[in-house]
Assembly symmetry: C2
Homo-oligomer: 442 residues x 2
């Protein structure tokens, strides 16, 4: 890809997130993800992102580097009232513009304080400083206004850091300013979510399919991302015509879906729990889940979906052996004979929750999440998952060679996927990782 | 803070993550979080981070900007064998060094393929290209070697993008190269996690306490981060003496803990579920949870903790009214009289799960997660949470004015916190957000 600008509109942008607190290890900069998504909607691609602390020389050099590369630079953060908030000053300095106090902005800030019965602290006066020639973007949710600056063929947009303030302001800027500038071409996206294949398996199958799309006159780009027991193919294409883009993406999705079959659970961005919920609703079925090692994660994921009360009645987390017996009716001698982590117990849990919750389909999950509790024959990560509809009863044993939280995530994902496969009458026996021989339907 | 380098060792670093796939909206760059944490351990602070696509001119200009600011630049990604992998070339160009094929590296790559019974594809030869004077960092997990380049007073470290390859290589570099260079001063961290206060309440109380620490000869820096119904104060200080740093941080933690009292649930990075688990273990108590609107999230969080089977027996997710009655013994007429989302029902759920699971403490949560189901008197976000030990029975009604997932998160957090407060005999009546008058213990 070349970096030249097309005749019409904006093509590339860069984002600079400002704030020393963003450089503390656990902190993820989510603003730039949101800004990227909204710019992409307009066909504007993000070429680079930077996170810079509250240090004026770093802010200035990052902005200079970005302006040398792209026509649109979005800065977020550093518009507060304190000495640490340097974005206004740095931008004015880089552009060689003076700052002046904007009377309207100052009035709006004062009124915001007065509406709460407070006096504006003198320090907030700084937030009314505006670089010469900048246009003010009103902030309905806070004191810091946004700023829109046209500088030759460059555009610089300053937004405040708090997401609750940034998001509505960005919507306004997208509607009133960026949309009209962005030209007719838009970026259109589609995704395929796959369960039951590793990333390398997916890429081996998908790569011969998607690689030629890059050489088309209007290319389709493919990015492979992963989540626990989930591989995602993200497709994107640029076009001035929504219909042409849709046709291209429809063809791409169809070609990949044909290659992956029932391993594809979603082509519209829906999560596995949402796809499963859709199937349950279609059939007017209700689901019950009995969880041991997943500890409630499956139930929590199912109920993340709005309207899930239509098909979720009651789920049980049975950690102790005694509760598997008293709550789910798993026979004591079955546990004694096979162990709590076994295919017969998983099946009995699935049947048990089906009966106790009065649902059409039951899921039973029992395993060793670790770090303790593993044995030679059943190491940590061993999980038996069963799905029962009364007539169809399937069970499989997995080995997830991971830590506790990932064992929970992988087991929850595979359980939801096995239930989905039963609902679509697909072969539930597809191995995911180092699985023991699939348990036969009994 | 000034940007000058101290006489001894490294003080600042920048990280450049390379790869167009990192600029797709849902993708978070986790490598840089990991690298930041490991550099911080050595007392090296990260001054800026950049994410750059696979475009050589962008890579080069980002590297130039970083080298102008800091003595250590860590690049990750872009070391693969394809045309898109440009990090080697860009670094060589910026430093004005030629690339040559390293015979040892090539041999190692060939052997890696041969060990799998495969022939090295000709394309992988590119991974043996090494800038003049660079030192090779072996990669035990993949084909791309790391590179360590000393350039005047600057150090450039190149690491491969896959975390499974990057992490062990970084450990090796930290032990053998960065550790010795970093000098004696290290960065020491401590954190306080708080529940029951908003971010602005925390900052109003904490700011007069922590602000003076910045003016000390050896300052302590404070960063405020938030998670659902959780405010975190992250403290850090640099010192050559671990004991001196610990003393300073102990004092800081003590001063803040004194100000926040029982609102502080952790001063050692432990999550709320881990802190609660610790209290349960100390008392040899077992806990049972009956969830409606949180749908299993509380149970899942409790069982995220290794060893939680010591105090988790069985939890119930009772979405339907009928299951609240049949599973937990909540009287039908109680639901008819007060509604399923009410303090009496939450209390009955807490008592019910305590009895059915045979635990010492029971938690009941019932609410309207939305988006549908709200009424004028009980809008979406209304959640009643009860904790019962038989003798102590507390219940509160909250209003969480958020979307479905955040209602679940806030409700789960407040339920865990109410249980914690009962265990430490703290006042459980602290309001969090727009709460109805606290229900009295009945």
């Amino acid at each position: 890809m070349s970096a030249r600008l097309p005749a019409s509109g904006l093509r590339w942008a860069e984002i600079i997130a400002v704030g020393t607190e963003l450089l503390v290890p656990p902190r993820v900069d989510t603003n730039s993800l949101h800004i990227t998504a909204r710019l992409n909607d307009l066909g504007i691609e993000v070429r680079a992102k930077a996170i810079v602390g509250d240090r004026r020389e770093d802010l200035e050099s990052s902005l200079r580097a970005a302006l040398a590369r792209t026509t649109l630079v979005v800065l977020c953060g550093g518009l507060g009232p304190t000495d640490d908030d340097l974005t206004r000053d740095a931008v004015a300095a880089v552009l060689g513009r003076s700052l002046h106090e904007d009377a309207d902005v100052l009035l709006r800030i004062r009124r915001r304080f007065e509406a709460r019965g407070a006096r504006m602290p003198e320090i907030n006066r700084r937030q009314a400083l505006v670089p010469e020639g900048a246009q003010v973007v009103a902030n309905a949710m806070g004191t810091a206004p946004g700023l829109w600056i046209t500088h030759g063929d460059r555009t610089i947009l300053l937004l405040p850091g708090p997401p609750s303030e940034l998001k509505p302001m960005l919507e306004q800027v997208v509607a009133e300013r960026l949309g009209p500038m962005a030209g007719d071409a838009r970026l259109y996206r589609r995704s395929l979510f796959i369960c039951g294949r590793t990333e390398s398996e997916v890429d081996e199958i998908a790569s011969p399919i998607y690689s030629p799309w890059l050489d088309q006159a209007a290319p389709v780009h493919t990015t492979v991302l992963t989540a626990p027991a989930q591989v995602e193919l993200h497709l994107s294409t640029r076009d001035q015509s929504a219909a042409a883009a849709a046709e291209r993406l429809d063809g791409a999705v169809a070609a990949l879906t044909a290659a992956f079959g029932a391993d594809v659970f979603s082509t519209d961005g829906r999560s596995l729990e949402e796809a499963l919920g859709g199937l349950l609703r279609e059939r007017r079925w209700r689901i019950g889940v009995a969880e041991s090692c997943t500890g409630g994660l499956i139930s929590s994921r199912l109920t993340d979906i709005p309207g899930s009360s239509d098909y979720v009645v009651a789920n049980a987390v049975c950690y102790s052996n005694a509760s598997k017996t008293s709550w789910l009716g798993v026979p004591e001698d079955l546990i004694a004979e096979h162990g709590a982590v076994s295919e017969p117990v998983a099946l009995a849990m699935a049947d048990g929750i089906r009966a106790r919750a009065g649902t059409d389909i039951g899921v039973g999950v029992t395993g060793i999440a670790g770090p303790a509790g593993g044995t030679d024959s059943k190491p940590v990560g061993t999980v038996a998952i069963a799905v029962s509809t009364g007539t169809v009863r399937v069970v499989r044993t997995f080995r997830f060679p991971f830590g506790r939280l990932r064992v929970k995530q992988f087991a929850a994902q595979m359980a939801l996927d096995m239930a989905r496969r039963v609902l679509v009458h697909a072969d539930p026996g597809v191995a995911f990782v180092a699985a023991a021989p699939p348990g036969a339907a009994r």
